[in-house]
């Protein structure tokens, strides 16, 4: 990996609540045009790690280490500077499409909100931009004036994606963004994300518990367990030649199509 | 939690001194002393809260009055609790026409001006403390009934209730073991809040002469006397007024505190 291209670097990130360490010495880099998958089970600290990039974690958490975005250490920025980076440079797509939107505001307005917060633009100009985004996530222009409850789960997830992309960020964080969807819809959304990623040369951090999605989307993989990264490498090396025992179990315990095993390996020390 | 402790401590102090009134009071609350010097005395070390127009010790009268207020508050609420939980539970669990009938009754209860209803009934039945308790209880169960019904409606759709049904557990046991214990948290909150309002109603009735009859003391009828002397005997209105305020406030503090503590979203979740 070319070190000059890295745009976000997490170095020795440690997060504590009280005296308890929940994330320990986590380091990885995001590069433009590459997708990094952060894989782990619930309670592995993967979501907190992602939230700490935008300082979105709860206030009682104490953070150490550094997160460098284009030469700036995000931990040293004040609230206003962080707010500028949120959405503009780094944005996040949440997991739950049903609860992440305001139920009484039209979809178009919600997408436009991000523009209004950060830029001075005329009304028709904003509308133009929103329609462009809707086309990009392959939604009908009529969606502009729909309410969230009128949309299917897949369409809602597309809207969230449009909301995240509204200000042309360079880094996109997807937190279990496809977990709540049906498989057939999940496949379409992942294809869409991959296309947009290539088109815009985005750096993506894709958080998931599901190794089979890793194969579809990622270039690099970090496996987290109990707050520690246990394995880190390219997709090929991690999936085909996992070095860590835990990673091996995680890959092996998912039933595969045409599986002839009678039992799945699941016991882990 | 802090609010509950403060509220509970105040109520405890009032309740214990009310129970031990004969010991704490120092004077017989009914004993009059009509000599010129004895009536309408200012608060002093001898008479903490002063004396009234008949020379009776206000502090002692208020202690005995606290018995009235607290017992009316508790008993009225217990009556409304029994009716509210029973009807609300039946309504929410069984639904259908039973639910429809009970809900119409609740709506009627809601649309009645309750205080005038209570005044009317007390006038008919004769003003005494038992009637007051019962009537307040019988007229204040409607909000509780709605609350319990709503809880039952959501709980009966929960998977653990379905599971119990599949296992052949009887309706009675499902209600008793699975639904009722999980439905009670908001009921406790609303109960403590209604104790406060029952005390207020009793005070108002006594103030109007429809509650506890003189010479027996209650906070409300001490206020009635105070009303006539408000220009120069401020202690006759201030102390019972404060007592009502502090008691009701304490119950509301407990209620609000409970609401937070019992909210499953506030902790419990891992």
């Amino acid at each position: 990996m070319n070190d000059n291209q890295k745009i976000l670097e997490i170095k020795d990130l440690t997060l504590r609540i009280g005296g308890k360490c929940i994330v320990k010495n986590v380091s990885f880099k995001l590069t433009a045009g590459r997708v990094m998958a952060l894989v782990g089970e619930s309670g592995s600290g993967k979501t907190l790690t992602a939230q700490s990039i935008l300082k979105l974690f709860p206030p009682r958490i104490y953070a150490e280490g550094s997160i460098t975005f284009k030469g700036k250490n995000l931990f040293e920025l004040d609230k206003e500077e962080i707010r500028k980076i949120r959405g503009c440079d780094i944005s996040i797509v949440p997991q739950e499409p049903a609860t992440s939107m305001n139920p009484v505001t039209r979809v178009g307005e919600q997408i436009a909100e991000g523009i209004r917060q950060h830029q001075e633009r005329s009304k028709p100009d904003i509308k133009q931009r929103v329609l462009e985004l809707l086309r990009m996530v392959k939604l009908d222009e009529g969606t502009f004036s729909s309410y969230p409850h009128e949309l299917s789960g897949g369409a809602r997830q597309r809207v969230l994606l449009a909301m995240a992309l509204v200000l042309d960020p360079e880094v996109l964080i997807l937190d279990e963004a496809t977990t709540a969807l049906d498989v057939s819809i999940q496949k379409d959304i992942i294809e869409l994300i991959m296309n947009i990623q290539k088109e815009r040369n985005l750096a993506i951090l894709f958080i998931t518990h599901d190794f089979s999605i890793v194969n579809l989307i990622a270039h690099n993989v970090c496996v987290m367990r109990k707050g520690v990264i246990v394995e880190n490498g390219t997709k090929e090396s991690v999936l085909h030649n996992p070095q860590n025992e835990y990673t091996r179990r995680l890959i092996a315990c998912v039933p595969k199509l045409g599986d002839t095993r009678r039992r799945l390996p699941n016991n882990i020390s | 939690m802090k609010r509950i402790m403060i509220g509970a401590a105040i109520i405890m102090v009032i309740a214990i001194s009310a129970i031990c009134a004969p010991v704490v009071a120092g004077y017989n609350p009914l004993e009059m002393d009509l000599t010129e010097d004895a009536i309408l005395q200012k608060p002093s070390l001898e008479h903490f809260f002063g004396t009234d127009n008949l020379g009776r010790d206000v502090f002692s009268r208020m202690l005995y009055g606290a018995r009235v207020s607290l017992s009316v508050g508790f008993i009225a609420v217990i009556i409304s609790l029994v009716i509210g939980v029973l009807l609300g539970g039946v309504s929410g669990y069984f639904g259908g026409w039973v639910d429809a009938v009970i809900m119409r009754v609740v709506e009627v209860m809601y649309s009645f001006p309750t205080f005038f209803l209570i005044m009317m009934v007390v006038t008919f039945l004769g003003p005494n403390i038992v009637n007051v308790m019962v009537v307040i209880g019988l007229t204040s169960w409607a909000p509780l009934c709605r609350l319990v019904r709503a809880e039952f409606l959501t709980l009966r759709e929960r998977d653990f209730v379905s599971s119990a049904r599949v296992q052949g557990v009887s309706n009675f046991r499902i209600i008793r073991r699975h639904i009722l214990p999980n439905a009670m948290a908001p009921v406790y909150v609303s109960m403590t809040l209604s104790v406060g309002s029952a005390i207020l109603i009793e005070s108002a009735l006594s103030f109007l002469g429809l509650g506890v009859q003189m010479p027996a003391p209650s906070w409300g009828n001490i206020l009635t006397i105070g009303k006539n002397y408000i220009d120069y005997a401020w202690w006759l209105t201030l102390f019972p007024g404060l007592a009502i305020l502090i008691t009701v406030l304490s119950f509301n503090m407990i209620g609000d505190g409970l609401r937070e503590v019992l909210d499953p979203k506030s902790d419990r979740k891992d």
Partner: protein, 245 residues
Amino acid sequence: MNIIEIKNINKCFRKRKTAWWLKKEPIKAVSDVSFSVEKGKTFGLVGESTCGKSTIAKILVGILKPDSGSVSVKGEKDIVFQDPYSSLNPRMTSREIVSEALLVRKIGKSEIETRVRQIFEMVNLNYAECKDKYAYQFSGGERQRIAIARALIRKLDVLVLDEPVSSLDVLVQAGILNLLKDLQENLNLTYVFISHDLRVVEFMADTVGVMRKGSFVEMASKDEIYSSPKNQYTKTLLSAIPDII
């Protein structure tokens, strides 16, 4: 011998009236569904969200009644739900939860005690450690084991599993799937296994039915469904599964 026989069942739900001028339109949840399951076998029911699979689960165990059609399930039956948070009463200990079915059947105390101990062991839970704990003190996987124990405390013939592993982490999921296979073998249970995950269903089932919008689009033996699917929707579902390697 077929232990489950479902014939032409239909089920509609009445939609809440949102305005008085609108008609109450019934929503068809299940239409004209038939299937049967042999004793000791697993019937896999696959479908995406809102296809009606949970409605069928509830009809099988009698929580819901079908509008028409016949349901025959021979012997004792029970159900395990998807969400282990809402399927256990938060105010009961695990022992109380598991033993309730025996308690209401007026079985003696000491007999209940031995049976509950046995069942905890069967689902790989430590009885002494777990018995006095409440649901919120357990992990998702442990809760699901308790739910299975609660069902198996009676001598069961049929167990309906409604997405039993979809809210669990993969390692925990594997443990539960293994457990279910062992239990089936040891107790000669018949399963109706409902899931949206075709891989899990393939691992568990003998016969598979694919549901869409309330009815079956395809039903066949596992091998047929997975190696030569006939229906277009089945093919779409199969092709949507990401390969892990």
